[in-house]
Every structure is written in C-alpha cells, then in structure tokens.
C-alpha cells in the first residue's frame, strides 16, 4: 500500500521550495499514484533552457520500492532512451533508499543530465555518438532541447502564426497548443478533430 500521507508531505515540501530548486511535482489526476515531475535543463549543458517532463508512477510498495520514472519529453542523452524516455539511474533501481524523495530523485535525474555516463548507456546510439563525435552529440542534444523541451515557450508565436494562416481562430489555436504541450502537429490534429 502506498503511503499517501508521505506523498502528500513530499508534494507540499516540493511546492514550498519550487522557486529554489525549479523542480515541480504535480498529480496527474486525483490519484496520487501517478504524477508528473518537471525539471529545468541544467545550465551549461545542451539541455539549458529546456523544461523536461517526467512521468512518475508510484509502485504499491512506495517508499520502500523506487518510483518508476520516465521522460515524457524527448531528450537526447546517453542514459535516457531516445525512444521511450526510460532512465538508467541506479537510485531508481537497486540503489533506491526510502530516505530519498520524489524531489531528490528528480534532482538526481537533473544531475544525470549534466553528467552523462556513456559507459553504462541506456541508448547505445546516443552513447556511441557521445564518445565518438561529441560535437555532433552536443548539437543534436541542443536541437532536441530546442524542438521538444522549449516548445511551450519559444517559437509559440510562429506556430500560432502558421496555424492561424491555415484558417483557425487564434484563440482556438492557442488553447489547442496549450492543451497538447506546444506540439504543432498534435495541435493541428486537435484543431481538425474538433
């Protein structure tokens, strides 16, 4: 059985020092077992300026079992699957400790972004690129951050512009973009379907 009392305490604690850590955790629905965490890309890395969303699902044994975390935002990183967003991090597996919290786990994920471990990769392709062509890796990571992790802030105006040119009302376009998290294609789909 999940200790919901603790989860609630963690959420309160997290929202209290959100300004300092930049880390946000909010429940997906009214069920506290499924949450969404948001971490800012660390400064001085190709992920700088991006905002990354992480799907969190708490197992029944939480906090005695580690929470399941997966990137919802696409990210180019040796230890994060570019396909599924799966994270390779020891504290989310065999090094979990019940004294860790969602906030500290997310902080560790953030630290992983700034310190990749190519020797223990989750995504072999990315890891190869990181080792062999580091410049290309940096460029790709930066590009992915630009296109997937910044969608909601930068470039919104251009997307709105384009969609408005297609003949949709601006208010609808904005709300649709917001609803899908800034993805232009998804917004277009949503606009077309109704």
């Amino acid at each position: 059985m999940i200790d919901f009392g603790r989860v609630q305490k963690e959420l309160q604690e997290c929202s209290r020092d959100m300004a300092a850590s930049g880390i946000k955790v909010s429940p997906k629905s009214d069920n506290l077992a499924r949450l969404v965490g948001t971490i800012p890309g660390p400064i001085g890395t190709p992920y700088e300026g991006g905002t990354f969303q992480i799907d969190i699902s708490l197992p029944d044994g939480y906090p005695f079992e580690p929470p399941k975390m997966q990137f919802a935002t696409k990210v180019w990183h040796p230890n994060i699957s570019s396909q599924s967003g799966a994270i390779c991090l020891d504290i989310l597996k065999d090094q979990w400790s019940p004294a860790l919290t969602l906030k500290t786990a997310l902080l560790s994920v953030q630290a992983l972004l700034s310190a990749p471990e190519p020797d223990d990769p989750q995504d072999a392709v990315v890891a190869q690129q990181y080792i062999r062509e580091n410049q290309t890796f940096l460029a790709t990571a930066r590009y992915w951050t630009e296109s997937f992790a910044k969608a909601s802030s930068l470039g919104v105006e251009e997307k709105v512009q384009r969609l408005v040119e297609m003949g949709f009302a601006e208010a609808h376009v904005r709300s649709a973009l917001e609803a899908v998290g800034g993805d232009e294609n998804l917004a277009l789909e949503k606009l077309c379907s109704g």
């Binding site: 603790r6 305490k9 906090p63 005695f64 079992e65 065999d94 400790s97 019940p98 004294a99």
Partner: protein
C-alpha cells in the same frame, strides 16, 4: 483520629502530568483529565509505600517519600469555593472531635487555615487520594510526643514534600530538605538511605522526561512524520541503528529491512544499510526516546540486549531445537533445569592457513557422499 474518606477533586488532576502521556501513549488524548503539558509535575508518590508496604522496594518506579498524612479538602459542591486545608494532627485529648466540624470557617475566627484567610493551593502531588479505611501508626503522630521519638522516625510534612506547605514557617512538622531535581522539600533530613534513593530516582526520572521532551520533535526520514506523534502507541517508537545515528520510526525501518528485494536490491548491501548514510547495521534497537549522546545510546542498547537475554530463545527451545544464530543469538539459551548452553567452538585450520570455526558435523554428511557398491 477519625477516618476521612477522601474525595479527590478532579479539578486538581489537570495540573498533574498524565503518566500515560509521559510514557508516550495516552489513549484519551485531549479528553484526558490529567495534564498533557510537560511543564506540570508528574504524580509520582507510591501509594503502597504510604500504606507501609511496597513490594517493589527500591525498584519501585514511584517515589518512596513519606507523604502519609491524609489531607482533607472539603469537596461538597457547596463548600467548593472555600476549600480548606486542615491539619489531621489531632492532639490525643481532642481525638474524638470531628475534624469536619473544625472546617466550618468562622469569619474573624483565628483559624489560620480557613480558606478565607489563605488561598487554596491545590497540592501538586496528590498522594492521598486514597481511601484510608484504617490508620497505621504513621498517621497518628503526636506533636507533643515528637521530642521523645528519634528524628528519623518522624515523618516529614507532606505538604512541603508535595511542593508547597501553606503553613510555611509555622508548620509544626518537620520540613524536608529541598531536592535539587524536582524542587520539592521531600528529602528527609534524618533518613540518608531514603534521600539517596529519592535523589537517584528523581534524577533518573528527570532525565527520562528531558529525553522524551527532546525526542518529541524528531522526525522519521522515511514516513516524514514525527515519531512520537504517530497515531498508535506501537508506532511511537524509534528504531535505532547500531552503526549510525539517523532517526527512523521502528515500523519504517523494520519495513525497509524486511522488504522483499524484488527490484534487484541486495539484502546485505542495500536493505541492511541505513537509508540515509548507507552504513550497514546488523540490528535495530527499539526505543521510546531518542538519545543525545553516545553513552545514552549505549545504555539503550545495553538494556535492550539485557532484556532479550532474559527471554528464552524459541529456536533453541530449551535445547530441543537449533538456533540459527548460534552463539550470537540475543535471546537466552538455557536448558529446562536453568543450565546455560555451553558453546564450544571447534577451530579448524583450513587449507589456506586461516582458522575457521567448524559448524556441527554430522556423520550423515560423510555417508551421503559415499558410494556403496
């Protein structure tokens, strides 16, 4: 002297520290008629001692002070406001006089103890909420004869021992010396053993209360709750780790150490380790209080081990069973006749030159490998 059946006024009891609360578990919570405020003094006078016999003797956890005078507080509702303290010392010639008769406050009368002249101070240690059906000799001291008895046989004033004697200097009874720990005049000037006993127990109690007070704020790092504020009494205990000083509640740390290593967590490196510092600890010690020094922790550990050592090991089963923990077992390994198990370890030199301790060797183990043609 006439037996007075004490009706204890419960309005006083709220000023007395609830003993269940002091131990960390009062089931009545806010509805408890006793005080849940640490500032209030505990009620700690042994009632059996007052009657003359306490089977626990020096091991009794209540105070063995002579506060044996029965006190009367007029407790009928009409006289509630004018409660009076009356000396129960009745001179022999007057012994048939009704004590209650003396209670009627007469305005302007020289009754120094009537409520109109002195505010009623509720005794902080109500040791006399007993119904004394009989009176032992202790209750019938005569001041007139006081000089003929040895000073160590004279009881001390129970009002002073309980914290406040309304008669102050004028009190005809022996006032005890001030106990530096509990701040009451409860040390008998002529009974050295009693003094030492009281001082010792008082200090110990004070220490325990202090420690309990400090422990109130401590949070478990797993459930993030204050350990001593958990809903059930069983949960309001710390689980001390032998090798480090991180606080957890007993249920959380036991849960973690016994959780099934499903996700590839290793029992010895992950689960036996402290969740915070990852230092390995081989056992957990339950404790109601959190310690503030190494010595205090050692005391808790020692008393825990001593307690376990007095319990018969269920694996050993008086020699019928086999305890997997062997000589490291915390429980008692004794046979039915009280004889303790003698552990004789067999030291063997192994091939690489190191000395190993042989486990039980059975003949069947050798026979099992034998091939019979």
């Amino acid at each position: 002297m006439i037996g007075i059946f004490m009706i204890f006024d419960f309005s006083c009891s709220c000023r007395v520290l609830c003993k269940f609360f002091a131990h960390g578990a009062c089931l009545k919570g806010e509805h408890c008629e006793f005080s849940h405020d640490w500032k209030d003094p505990p009620h700690n006078i042994c009632t059996y001692y007052q009657k003359g016999l306490c089977a626990y003797g020096s091991r009794c956890r209540y105070e063995h002070v002579k506060a044996s005078r029965s006190h009367s507080s007029a407790s009928s509702s009409s006289t509630n406001a004018r409660q009076s303290l009356v000396s129960d010392i009745v001179p022999p010639g007057n012994s048939t006089r009704s004590v209650l008769g003396g209670l009627t406050p007469v305005p302007g009368s020289p009754m120094e103890l009537s409520a109109s002249s002195r505010p009623f101070i509720p005794p902080t240690k109500p040791a006399w909420n007993q119904e004394y059906g009989h009176h032992d000799s202790l209750d019938d001291w005569d001041i007139g004869e006081a000089s003929s008895i040895r000073p160590s046989d004279r009881p001390i004033c129970s009002f002073a021992a309980a914290g406040n004697c309304p008669r102050g200097e004028k009190c005809p009874h022996l006032h005890g010396d001030l106990c530096p720990t509990c701040g009451k005049h409860c040390l008998h000037p002529f009974r050295p053993e009693e003094r030492v006993e009281h001082l010792k127990s008082c200090e110990k109690k004070q220490k325990h209360l202090e420690a309990l007070k400090h422990s109130q704020e401590i949070e478990c790092s797993v459930c993030l709750e204050r350990v001593l504020s958990k809903p059930t009494a069983a949960e309001r205990k710390f689980g001390l780790l032998s090798e480090c000083d991180h606080p957890f509640c007993i249920s959380c740390i036991r849960n973690w150490r016994s959780s099934s290593p499903t996700s590839g967590m290793d029992v010895n490196s992950a689960l036996r380790a402290c969740p915070i510092c990852r230092k390995l600890s081989y056992f957990v010690i339950p404790s109601v209080i959190w310690y503030s020094s190494k010595e205090e922790k050692q005391d808790i550990v020692d008393s825990y081990k001593a307690k376990l050592k007095s319990i018969d090991c269920k694996h050993f089963d008086f020699g019928n069973g086999n305890c997997p923990f062997g000589s490291s077992c915390f429980y008692k390994h004794a046979y039915r006749d009280g004889r303790l198990e003698e552990v004789v370890l067999r030291h063997l030199g192994s091939e690489d030159g190191e000395t190993v301790i042989a486990k039980n060797i059975r003949l069947s183990e050798f026979l099992g490998n034998m091939r019979i043609r």
